[in-house]
């Protein structure tokens, strides 16, 4: 459970770093200029919601 919470916390942190805050006009996209990073941004957003749902599900006891 702790690993999942750590993952969730990391995803949320990256989501805020990459997808929030003031954009300096014409600057962020130009500076990033790195397609991989843009994909990382999208994947972080999607993975974030998946992780929230996963960590909210009760654990099955074997």
């Amino acid at each position: 459970m702790s690993d999942e919470n750590d993952e969730l916390s990391l995803l949320e942190t990256l989501d805020h770093l990459l997808d929030r805050g003031v954009v300096i006009a014409g600057e962020a996209v130009v500076s990033i200029g790195d397609v991989d990073l843009l994909y990382l941004g999208l994947n972080v957003v999607l993975a974030n919601v998946d992780a929230i749902i996963r960590t909210s599900q009760p654990k099955r006891i074997k």
């Binding site: 969730l8 805050g21 300096i24 600057e27 990073l37 929230i52 909210s56």
Partner: protein, 213 residues
């Protein structure tokens, strides 16, 4: 060397020695110095910037700058930021001592994410993406309880549809109210065990940084 800019601050003392200060008029940018050829997509750099961002928030309220903005010198930064400075100053003065908290809630009926290959044009694809985002909604009872117990703790709050699978509530709160917000979040977790949500923060001024357009 270039500076990966992290935030805009009212006081230089809120930046040092956590990050490097760069003057822009009477305000200050915080940043992390890196080599000119350092790729911004580097995972280790992202994590270091995220850590520094969190440490800076312990020092004082600041406006978050979206990752990807770099500057070489004050004159360079001033040219790029001049249009923002008056608004940033007002925001920083009005929101001194405040932080943001975020409640992200998985949609009760998530919409299918459109597939780019199903659309003839990018415009049609983006329209479908927008429609799917706007159609996402959350459990109305959960929202009602959030409005009753959580939003009154905030100075300002704002709901937004983030994507096809979640909605988000941004809360602007006084730093001393963070514990009360977390307590309200824990109560929500107890009362709505079946609703997947995440309460996170404190964050710098992100959503409410552009309120003075």
């Amino acid at each position: 060397m270039k500076l990966v800019v992290i935030g805009a601050h009212l006081e230089r003392v809120d930046i040092e020695p956590v990050a490097e200060p760069l003057a822009v008029g009477d305000l200050w940018l915080s940043g992390m110095p890196v080599a000119d050829d350092q790729p911004l997509g580097d995972r280790a750099l992202l994590l270091r910037v995220a850590q520094t961002r969190a440490s800076l928030l312990d020092r004082g309220t600041f406006i978050a700058i979206r990752y990807g903005f770099t500057a070489h010198a004050s004159s360079d930064a001033m040219t790029k930021c001049a249009a923002h400075l008056d608004r940033w100053r007002r925001t920083l003065q009005e929101c001194r001592g405040m932080v943001e908290m975020t409640l992200k809630v998985a949609a009760a009926s998530p919409q299918a994410r459109p597939d780019r290959h199903d659309f003839a044009s990018g415009a049609a694809y983006f329209r479908a993406l927008h429609d799917a985002t706007q159609a996402a909604s959350i459990d109305p009872l959960f929202r009602e309880v959030v409005e009753k117990n959580l939003t009154p703790l905030a100075v300002k709050h704002r709901w937004s549809n983030r994507d096809n699978a979640s909605l988000e509530l941004a809360l602007l709160v006084r730093a001393e109210s963070v514990a009360a917000v977390n307590d309200a979040g824990a109560a929500l977790k107890r009362d709505f065990a079946s609703v997947p949500f995440l309460l996170s923060g404190p964050w710098p001024l992100e959503v409410f940084a552009d309120d003075h357009e």
